[in-house]
């Protein structure tokens, strides 16, 4: 992998649902940095049309809130997967990669950046304090990754 590859970062979630907004918050922070060769997108959820954008990039990073697991965040390589069923409401990253591969012959490599959140079940446009701290650490990490995408492979699956 070299640093000149085209990278797509999709931050997704509902910012009106507290920590569910971690993905869009990361996308907004990365967008401000205006990194070269990086496309930043943000949406409430992944949907099928994202497959064409995924197909137009070499690497895609799916940034989302995670409800449990590793703090402050985890990174995981994701392979295309033909899931048996899903709702358009929430197309999983692996399914999106599969659609990009099947429909557009893409060879895009995918990674999930799951940022740990804690509060999801109320309306409110704010991040909880621990989620905000996790976001800060995830931003530091992703800044390094965008400068050196090889870090994605060397840090996938590791605790952070």
């Amino acid at each position: 992998m070299d640093s000149t590859r085209r990278i797509l970062l999709i931050g997704y979630g509902n910012p009106g649902r507290l920590d569910d907004g971690l993905g869009p918050a990361l996308a907004a922070a990365v967008e401000k940095l205006q990194p070269a060769g990086v496309t930043v997108d943000s949406d409430y959820q992944l949907t099928v049309e994202d497959a064409s954008d995924v197909a137009a990039h070499d690497i895609v990073i799916f940034a989302d809130a995670s409800t449990s697991g590793t703090e402050p965040y985890y990174v995981e390589a994701v392979a295309p997967k033909a899931a048996l069923s899903f709702s358009s409401h929430s197309v999983e990253p692996a399914v999106l990669l599969h659609l990009a591969q099947t429909l557009f012959n893409a060879k895009t490599r995918g990674y999930i950046l799951g940022i740990r959140g804690y509060e999801f079940n109320e309306f409110g446009e704010r991040l909880s304090e621990p989620a905000a701290r996790n976001l800060e650490k995830a931003l530091q990490y992703i800044t390094l990754v965008l400068a050196d995408p090889q870090l994605l492979d060397s840090t996938s699956g590791a605790s952070h």
């Binding site: 509902n14 409430y44 995670s66 069923s85 899903f86 358009s88 799951g114």
Partner: protein, 480 residues
């Protein structure tokens, strides 16, 4: 009434390939005879409280947090209500047409997604087909061209939303009294470049939906079907109008219950019933009462209530559609798909009409008026009539919000569809297979319900089907 404690209970939770979270419970006796079937909606009514105290100017942006599937509909309905709050009854041509473009973009992308990726697996492979192929992955594998068209049509609509609302998430395009941007020549030309392709694909999708319905009419006609009232906005001349109009309600034979009702007076005509087993209310037409006043909304209702459609190809399609029922309202649940594709073609025809209108490049974007304390905004969202109603205090804070979302209006019809399919296809069967349970979901999906989804964080949305006996013991489980 039989004591439901003695019955077996089948639960489909959550219903898949609909927007959000839903649960179906079916109660069976010892012979597997269906005694009761209900759709439960997990709905978050907290939103109406959340918005209280917020500045009214923020409402069109805030309401998009309601739903990640149709934020544009909430954005525009709230903006229309706020137009009234700021004392504006007529927008500038540029503002009205930009909003319409945004709305038709929303309709186009939403209907495309539903048809190609949610409904088509059932139609192309059959309700009983192997679940391993009866999904969008199967469509991608076996009907790649259709799947690509669905993706690209959805993307086209989303790009229109982005260009008119400012961005895909938390768009800010519509503001009280108008709009905050026009459409640049560059943006317009970008959309015009692909418009012929979009129209061609829409024609193709319409043909798939029509052919499916006509060729399978014998099976489709009774499937989850029943007579009902229908409600929608309608233009003053009786044309379908998805953005603005007055309320019209017709009965199952097409006779008008009320017509050209100013939607500011909706509370005089529509009320909501509450039932202890559902989080979601049951709207009904007041003059007919709870028992007889329930109604359908959405594509089927809109095609039924319209006297005509003001774009040529969609109007020709409407005439074909109405001919199937000799000009009377079509009450077939599965005809929602055909009606939805008529609206898809109508939406892309309207998009072309708007893109060719130089008013979109106008610079007169906002009108001002005298503040009023109350505003109502209605719009025909992809899934049906959407009501937003607000009262604002002297400090410019929202004091009261009342929303009737499209899926709420379809609550009673969806429950009737679930019940009818359960009776017709499940009752008395020795084994209840996944394919049989999918019949229930097919009927629900025809309505394209949006079940007020909100949080979707990683790790959610499994499908679990459980068969539980009267004591609550799990006797069978299917999950994917």
């Amino acid at each position: 009434m039989q004591d439901t404690q003695d019955l077996k209970r089948v639960v489909i939770e959550p219903v898949t390939r609909v927007e959000g979270h839903g649960k179906v419970t079916i109660l069976l006796d010892e012979q597997n005879t269906v005694k009761q079937a209900r759709l439960h909606i997990v709905e978050f009514r907290g939103f109406e409280r959340f918005i209280q105290g917020r500045p009214y100017t923020e409402a069109p942006v805030l309401v998009q947090r309601l739903c990640g599937i149709c934020p544009v509909s909430h954005h525009l309905a709230a903006a229309k209500a706020m137009d009234q709050i700021v004392g504006v009854d007529t927008l500038t041509p540029t503002a009205e047409k930009m909003r319409r473009l945004m709305h038709y973009g929303q309709m186009f992308q939403s209907h495309s997604l539903h048809f190609f990726h949610l409904a088509s697996p059932d139609l192309l492979f059959g309700f009983d087909a192997d679940v391993a192929i009866r999904n969008v992955i199967g469509v991608a594998a076996k009907h790649k061209e259709l799947a690509v068209q669905g993706v690209m049509m959805r993307k086209y609509g989303q790009e229109i939303i982005k260009a008119t609302a400012g961005k895909k998430i938390h768009g800010t395009g519509a503001i009280p009294g108008g709009i905050n941007k026009n459409l640049s020549i560059e943006e317009r030309d970008g959309f015009l470049k692909d418009i012929d392709q979009m129209i061609e694909w829409s024609r193709g999708a319409l043909k798939v939906a029509k052919d499916y319905t006509v060729e399978n009419l014998e099976a489709v006609a009774p499937f989850g079907s029943f007579d009902s009232n229908h409600l929608s906005l309608i233009r003053e001349d009786g044309a379908m109008d998805l953005y603005h109009g007055n309320l019209r309600a017709i009965d199952a034979q097409g006779d008008k219950i009320f017509d050209q009702v100013n939607y500011n007076n909706y509370l005089d005509y529509i009320a909501e019933d509450v039932r202890d087993w559902s989080y979601m209310k049951f709207p009904f037409i007041k003059s007919l009462g709870v028992e007889n006043g329930w109604y359908r909304v959405g594509p089927l209702a809109r095609v039924n209530t319209a006297d005509f459609i003001d774009t040529p190809e969609a109007e020709a399609a409407r005439k074909e559609f109405m001919a199937v029922t000799d000009g009377k309202p079509n009450n077939l649940t599965m005809a929602y798909h055909w009606a939805r594709m008529i609206e898809t073609l109508h939406s892309i025809e309207k998009i072309r009409e708007l893109l060719e209108d130089s008013d979109l490049q106008g610079t007169d974007l906002v009108v001002k008026g005298d503040r009023r304390p109350e505003g109502v905004g209605l719009i025909e969202a992809p899934r049906g009539t959407l009501f937003h109603h607000y009262r604002v205090n002297e400090n410019d804070q929202v004091e009261m919000a009342n929303l009737i979302v499209s899926t709420t209006s379809n609550n009673e019809p969806m429950n009737r569809a679930v019940s009818k399919v359960a009776m017709d296809h499940i009752s008395g069967k020795a084994e209840i297979t996944e394919g049989l349970l999918n019949h229930i979901e097919v009927a629900i999906r025809a309505y394209d319900p949006c079940l007020s989804c909100a949080t979707h964080a990683l790790g959610k949305m499994p499908l679990v089907v459980r068969l539980v006996d009267a004591e609550g013991n799990e006797v069978a489980k299917k999950s994917t």
